[in-house]
Amino acid sequence: MKRRDRTLILIILSGLILVAASIFVAIAMKKTVSFFYAPQDVAQNPPKIGTNVRLGGLVKSGSIIRGAEGKIDFIVTDGMAEIKVEYVGIAPDLFREGQGVIAEGQFISNDNFKASRILAKHDENYIPKEVATALKKSGQWKEPTSAAKYDGGRK
């Protein structure tokens, strides 16, 4: 086989694989992509019940109720609206009242959410970008105060 033919075949082959992969990617993406909701988004843009989404905001102070068998109920708020969340399992180490949280799961009604996973953070000062944006929108945003008390924040 001539060199040029070989190169041509290779290019066509890689092109085909890439096109096939792209179609594949697009289909998979359409099926699996999940939207982010802040509590205030629900009124304007009601979520489809039973599809996987992410819900983010602050854990309302005083709202965490720990039941038997690892059941945890709490309320996610962004200052404009509130959503009740139920979860079974061990919450991540940094899951606390007054802190930012992202829950993965499904809406069971417009103000009830069943979480299958609560996203953990590894760092007290980290606030997920989506939560920060949502809080800024509702005017609840406070600059994170770093544990570094002496300089009022990390640079």
Binding site: R6, M29, V33, G67, E69, G89, D93, L94, P144, A148
Partner: protein
């Protein structure tokens, strides 16, 4: 004073790296020996300067010098010694300093060990490497200085994030960087080759040890990270397709492809242009990884507090080296007239091309999934996330294809092969694999995909064993003679066998672990027990525990299964300085899996404290990590092969 010296050494390193860049490139252009020697000397100065600076930072941590902002934010006098040392790179500034230490180390070792390289190639590679070092040292000096002082030093520090106070995570960053940053030297050699206009078998031969070394380190680095996530986070999982994980996995996939394509270029003189392109892209993805991890543009479960402003700097470095590299490739790559090795459509070359295509496409799909949330917001008008379902849907089938082709590739001969003769040898292997799959399908109903996965794993393992025993004539001649043959085998051949064997073991274990693990959550008061997976687990008591910089609660569990009785004690710790709790899981391992228990927070039910336990039974988990170790071991053996020594003489095969 010593802190200022450490800071000052960074300026020396910057100047030396710039000198290395200029004199190296100039020497390559003029073929002037003096300038080339100057570049080599400058690389040593740069290396010694950054090493010094790095030790100063470690010293500041060891002496708990809280007048240094970085130490005050990440250390504590009561922290155990090993984490004082590891704390030096357990933060943004320190880790970027480690980055330049590794980059300068690679540059300096090319100067010393690359004696057999052609003059121009080496000088230019030294120059490009100098440019990379200078760019990142510049970033450290001007945007991420670890030696910043505080006007009023606090009496005590904030402590290192307790999740990072862990042996696996203490050595995870050095390994990861030895891998990531090793690809910078691969990039430098590729660019130097393009500038020289000569990419041939000899070039590939010089390239391979560096690719292999980076790949081994990257493999171990990723493994350590996954292992840490598994036992420290208490979620029972080892891979979450999180952006930060993907950031390390993408360069690994390309380095794996590069490893295979460089063999074709060396042995057959083919695929030269492609190997160069892969080299450029692999390093670009390393830089992209650094950017994603350090800028926080994408929400990650592994994210730490970050400063997005700094991300811009890394993005600029990324744009410069990727853009520059690809531009040069566009101008010169097509003119590489060194693609001399002809081969037939059915040959080992073609099989390795398929391997490369699929690895690159797999990397591409992960890249799309990782970056999609950035563009998705513009498309959908709201924040989105791409999670494990996407990655499992696209990555698994692509990998399956690669693994199906793998054994065939090792059987095919170079240049021209007859598929029938080559595959005939594997008929029995294929039959056993299919039978194994059917058996799994029969035993575990409703899990057809797991059966397929396990069959593929058996296929890869048996084919690897078959191939090596074929080579040493096992069973065809007396055993003593076979063993002698084994001794005579090139380390490279044994390395390949081990790496492929490891891939097979990993595949089976990962499939079994993912499809057959069980978990449950249960609340227990003292004296109560639960039955899970054949184990009877009783909560005897909750005890207070205390360490140098933490205190906590420890559950004393007695576990029974048939005649087996043992104790387990998962723990919840609280680190007051960092104001953070952590979960310390308890694990009981046997040959085929492990019982994994995490302790949650207590709740008061009917006046009694009820402690939440999360119980997992993870089959094959040890084999899963062991498989990765075997893969890395295969790489190490290949690296020790005499033909691959960095100082190896000229290429045997002249194109």
């Amino acid at each position: 004073m010593i802190i200022e010296l450490g800071h000052f050494a960074l300026f020396i390193a910057l100047a030396a790296a710039l000198l290395q860049a200029i004199s190296g490139l100039y020497a390559g252009h003029t073929r002037n020996l003096t300038y080339s020697n100057m570049a080599n000397g400058a690389s040593d100065v740069a290396f010694i300067a950054v090493i010094f600076s790095f030790f100063v930072l470690v010293y500041a941590y060891l002496t708990s010098d809280f007048s240094v902002k970085n130490v005050a934010e990440n250390s504590h006098t009561l922290k155990p010694l090993i984490y004082k040392i590891a704390g030096a790179w357990g933060n943004h500034e320190g880790s970027m300093l480690l980055w330049v230490v590794v980059a300068a180390g690679y540059g300096s070792s090319l100067a010393h060990f690359g004696k057999s390289l052609s003059f121009g190639l080496k000088a230019r590679a030294m120059g490009i490497q100098g440019l990379i070092i200078a760019a990142v040292v510049g970033y450290v000096v001007f945007a991420s200085n670890p030696f910043l002082r505080l006007d009023t030093p606090p009496l005590q520090g904030n402590d290192l994030n307790p999740l990072l106070q862990d042996p696996a995570l203490a050595i995870h960053p050095p390994f990861l960087y030895l891998g990531y940053v090793g690809l910078s030297l691969v990039y430098s050699l590729a660019i130097a080759g393009l500038m020289e206009g000569k990419i041939d078998a000899a070039w590939a031969r010089w390239l391979r040890p560096w690719v292999l070394a980076s790949w081994v380190f990257l493999t171990i680095g990723i493994l350590l990270g996954a292992y840490w996530a598994y036992y420290e986070l208490g979620w029972g999982g080892w891979w979450f397709w999180d952006p930060v994980e993907n950031a390390s996995f993408m360069p690994w996939l390309l380095a794996t492809a590069l490893l295979h394509s460089a063999i074709v270029t060396e042995k057959r003189g083919a695929l030269a242009a492609w190997t160069v392109l892969l080299s450029i892209l692999a390093f670009s993805l390393s830089l992209l990884g650094t950017f994603l991890v350090r800028s926080g543009v994408i929400t990650s479960v592994h994210a730490f507090a970050l400063d997005p402003g700094r991300g811009i700097w890394i993005l600029m470095i990324l744009a410069f080296f990727t853009g520059g590299g690809l531009l040069l490739y566009g101008l010169k790559g097509a003119k590489m007239a060194s693609d001399k090795g002809l081969f037939a459509p059915i040959s080992r070359e073609t099989a390795l091309i398929l391997n490369n295509l699929f690895l690159v496409v797999a990397c591409f799909t992960i890249l799309v999934g990782t970056l999609y949330p950035l563009v998705g917001e513009a498309i959908y008008g709201r924040a989105i996330s791409v999670g494990a379902p996407y990655f499992n849907a696209v990555f698994t089938p692509l990998m399956s294809v690669i693994l199906l082709v793998l054994p065939l590739a090792t059987m095919l001969s170079w240049k021209r092969a007859v598929l029938v003769t080559s595959s005939k040898k594997l008929v029995w292997v294929a039959l056993v694999a299919i039978l194994g799959g059917l058996l799994v399908a029969f035993l575990a109903k409703n899990k057809p995909m797991s059966a397929v996965g396990i069959a593929i794993g058996i296929w890869v393992i048996l084919a690897a064993i078959f191939e090596i025993s074929n080579r040493i004539g096992l069973g065809k001649m007396p055993l003593v003679q076979s063993l002698k043959r084994l001794q005579g085998l090139r380390l490279m051949a044994i390395g390949m066998f081990l790496a492929h064997l490891g891939v097979g073991i990993f595949t089976i274990s990962a499939v079994i672990e993912t499809s057959f693990k069980t978990e449950t959550t249960k609340g227990l008061a003292s004296g109560e027990s639960v039955v899970f997976g054949g184990y009877k687990i009783k909560l005897d008591a909750i005890e207070a525990s205390e360490g140098p910089n933490y205190y906590g609660d420890k559950a004393i569990l007695s576990v029974r299964r048939r005649n087996d009785a043992f104790a387990m004690s998962p723990e919840r710790r609280y680190y007051p300085a960092a104001k953070m709790p952590t979960t310390e899981v308890a694990r009981h391992t046997n040959a085929f899996g492990e019982l994994y228990i995490a302790l949650g927070e207590p709740s008061i039910v009917d006046g009694r404290a009820v402690w939440t336990l999360r119980l997992y039974e993870n089959p094959m988990i040890g084999w899963l990590f062991g498989g990765c170790m075997i893969i890395a071991l295969g790489g190490v053996l290949s690296l020790l092969d005499r033909g691959l020594r960095i100082g190896a003489p000229k290429a045997k095969v002249k194109p």
